[in-house]
């Protein structure tokens, strides 16, 4: 233990007594800050001002006058945790008009919505459920029941418009593909069967409620996709299977999230270029020794090469982590007011405090990411030995290929995000993006584990090769 401690102290002396260490850290901090600030300054959002909402679904409806009730037993096919099927009463059938709706979701219980502004939810077991909507004037109350006998009140909401059409609806949110930063949505068909529909009897009509192409009724930037042809098939007078696609609600409601919701991650996004500094620091810590021949002096001072490699890795990891942590906290604190000023604020955009667990994880994660990249670079430097070779390999793999992939195709970007050391950037996520998306290319820890795996493998190879080769 003493021997390892002495090696760590010696390697720390080595690292702090050359100017390239300071320059590399400066590059890491400068590049991260520059790009995070640039992103925070240049991107703006109007989501809070423009009432971003989506109103697109298949509606099976009949006209209603005065106060009334709709009831049905709903069994929904699971096309995603935020698929929606239920009962609705609406001011006509135009997309964007006033409405109240109670719905099932496979993953998020029973929900009651009004006018893409109000939402009440109640957890419930998955599977078929009885739903009821009852309104008096502009006040709408939603109920749910496991058996149609005992009813639970979900809540009461107020709508702005005069309710004239009531019935059943099915929506299934589109799947999100992120091509670099550009989202593309792919429609997903959903379906549900409604039994014991009351009122029953003739008079039902089908309307695909579709957003106008101009997007006049809804804001830009909400997840929507060209609708798929929906429809309904009746079996008797009280049972109908409805298919449809789309989504209802406003940004921040019912799983309707914007792709730029994760402002913490956006504020820390500069690290994906700041890692250039970490690469330089890690690689130079060992290639400079090979270049000057100091490596022989080192191994003469300590023949245990594994100890030397371990001590070097630890010192580099700690130095980069500590400076990376200060950097990440600063980036978070500096970019947040800028994002606020550019429209990224509540209620659409959550702005959690630095001390909230996901933010702490992201901030510490950014430092850890840089730290592991530095150790990975040190291992590659040990294997390659030459500064130029190591830096070219690392910059190509960790900076150039990802940038090119992001601009080329979604699948290439996905491969980079899942299977290269950059998968570790997943640890910056504080928001799980929905609808179903590949924007979250890997889970927070899954992606980070990929980076850990690369680092461990590279260190293992470096250790093996170091013990084999003549110094």
């Amino acid at each position: 233990m003493t021997a390892f401690y002495r090696a760590v102290v010696a390697e720390w002396t080595k690292l702090r007594t050359v100017r390239s260490t300071g320059l590399a850290l400066l590059a890491m901090i400068g590049l991260t800050m520059l790009l995070s600030l640039l992103a925070a300054t240049l991107s703006t959002s109007t989501a809070n001002d423009a009432r971003l909402s989506v109103d697109q679904f298949h509606f099976v409806h009949r006209p209603v006058t005065g106060d009334a009730t709709v009831t049905a037993r709903v069994s929904q096919s699971d096309t995603g945790e935020w698929a929606k099927a239920g009962l609705m009463v609406k001011e006509g059938t135009a997309s964007g008009s006033s409405y109240a709706a109670i719905m099932l979701t496979p993953g998020h219980g029973v929900r009651l919505q009004a006018d893409a502004r109000t939402e009440v939810s109640r957890p419930s077991a998955a599977g078929p459920r009885w739903l009821r909507l009852r309104w008096t004037g502009q006040s709408v109350t939603g109920y749910e029941s496991p058996d149609g006998v005992t009813w639970n009140t979900v809540g009461t909401v107020a709508v702005a418009g005069r309710l004239s059409e009531a019935g059943l609806f099915v929506a299934s949110p589109p799947r999100l593909h992120l091509l670099g930063e550009i989202p593309r949505y792919e429609a997903v068909p959903g379906s549900a069967t409604f039994q014991d529909v009351a009122p029953d009897g003739p008079g039902w009509r089908d309307t695909p409620v579709v957003e106008p192409p101009s997007g006049a009724a809804v804001g830009e930037g909400v997840p929507s996709a060209p609708p798929l042809a929906g429809g309904s098939r009746w079996s008797g007078t009280a049972m109908v299977t409805v298919t449809g696609s789309g989504d209802i609600g406003g940004a921040g409601m019912g799983g309707i999230n914007l792709t730029d919701l994760d402002r913490v991650r956006a504020g820390l996004s500069g690290v994906q270029f700041g890692l250039i500094g970490a690469i330089a620091l890690g690689a130079l810590a060992v290639t400079a020794e090979f270049r000057t021949g100091t490596i022989r002096t080192t191994f003469a001072a300590r023949p245990g090469r594994g100890t030397v490699l371990a001590a070097k890795s630890l010192v580099v990891a700690v130095v980069v982590f500590v400076s990376g942590l200060a950097l990440a906290v600063a980036a978070f604190l500096i970019t947040r007011p800028l994002q606020h000023a550019n429209g990224y604020h509540a209620p659409i955009y959550p702005s959690p405090a630095l001390t909230s667990p996901p933010v702490l994880r992201a901030v510490a994660g950014a430092a850890l990411f840089l730290s592991l990249i530095a150790v990975f670079s040190l291992a590659v430097g040990t294997i390659v030995r030459r500064t130029a070779g190591a830096v070219v390999i690392l910059l190509t793999g960790l900076v150039i290929v990802p940038v090119v992939a992001a601009g080329t195709s979604g699948s290439a970007a996905e491969v980079v995000g899942r299977f290269t050391p950059l998968a570790g950037l997943s640890i910056l996520q504080t928001v799980e993006l929905t609808p179903l998306s590949n924007a979250v290319v890997t889970g927070v820890w899954a992606g980070f584990a990929v980076l850990c795996g690369y680092t461990a493998a590279a260190l293992g190879a470096a250790f093996w090769i170091l013990n084999r080769r003549d110094a």
């Binding site: 003493t2 007594t17 021949g293 191994f299 001072a301 300590r302 023949p303």
Partner: protein, 305 residues
């Protein structure tokens, strides 16, 4: 001071098809300055690297104090080594360069100041090594070797780049280290550098030991019983001496060496023949002569200087 030997047993090292070290065995004893000499490419540096566990021999063992170097946890306390004076980070200050080496071996920080003083580098302690002359780097490397007050010193070409004053200084240093009972091994490709420093010589050629002997023995052996004659009448002397049954070699415009006759007999023969001469005495070979003769057939590539 513990008495430790340096021992090579049947060391073999090949690089591709080139045999750098070929079944090399020798022992370096404490209390002496041992010169490790041979032309460039004879395998000196390779052998030293194997002694320090930097290169792995194909076969054979290298031991210091009876243990492989690899087994030393903090080797600088036992073995001080200088392999390449250029092996310093140009951006690092001299004192810091010594500090990390000291820290690796648990040597107290004040020792850094001491070895800087011993090597005359105090004023350069805070200077970056990149600005050092070769001589200063050589001193820095020697300072590093002295850090752990080691019982064994291994220095590869320590005289290289030193000015005459520096050369005198290092000779004194090495002699006093040996006098204290330490084991001192210094390599050189110039025998002359070792003439006044080394007690013992290991001569290497093409990876093999050509001679492993004391400096005195080596000189006596090669000088033999030859007599050196200085004369202005080289032709007359040649005729007279061969006539008396001696083997004569011309070594200069006015010098001859004579084999087969003693000093008195040579003087008598020359006097009898009326050949003028200014000196007759035993011939002393220089180490350089010996070395040239010994390694002539063993030079793998001659120096390009």
């Amino acid at each position: 001071m513990p008495s430790l030997t340096i021992e090579a047993r049947e060391l073999v090292k090949t690089y591709g098809r080139t045999v750098a070290v070929d079944h090399l065995s020798f022992t370096v004893r404490p209390g002496l300055v041992t010169g490790f000499v041979g032309p460039n490419g004879a395998g000196k540096s390779t052998t030293l690297r194997m002694l320090l566990a930097l290169d792995r021999p194909d076969s054979g063992t290298a031991l210091i104090g009876g243990r492989p170097y690899r087994d030393y946890r903090e080797p600088a306390r036992t073995v001080g080594a200088l392999l390449d004076p250029e092996a310093v980070h140009p951006g690092r200050r001299a004192a810091d360069h010594l500090l990390w080496m000291a820290q690796y071996n648990g040597i107290p920080r004040r020792r850094v100041g001491e070895v800087l003083a011993i090597t005359g580098l105090e004023s350069a302690a805070r200077k970056r090594a990149g600005g050092f002359s070769l001589g200063m780097r050589q001193r820095l490397g020697i300072a590093a070797a002295l850090l752990g007050d080691p019982a064994v010193l291994i220095l590869d070409e320590p005289v290289n780049g030193l000015d005459p004053e520096g050369i005198r200084w290092i000779r004194g240093l090495l002699r006093s280290m040996a006098a204290e009972g330490r084991t001192v091994l210094i390599s050189s490709h110039l025998m002359g550098e070792l003439q006044d420093t080394a007690d013992h010589l290991i001569v290497l050629g093409r990876g093999r030991v050509l001679a492993d002997t004391s400096v005195r023995e080596l000189l006596d052996l090669t000088s033999g019983s030859r007599i050196e004659v200085s004369t202005s009448d080289r032709g007359g002397a040649l005729e007279a001496l061969t006539g008396a049954g001696a083997t004569v070699a011309v070594t200069g415009a006015e010098t001859l060496t004579v084999d087969g006759l003693d000093t008195a007999r040579v003087a008598a023969v020359l006097s009898a023949a009326g050949v003028p001469f200014t000196g007759v005495g035993p011939h002393r070979a220089s180490l350089e002569d010996v070395y040239m003769a010994m390694t002539r057939e063993h030079v793998t590539f001659s120096a390009l200087t």
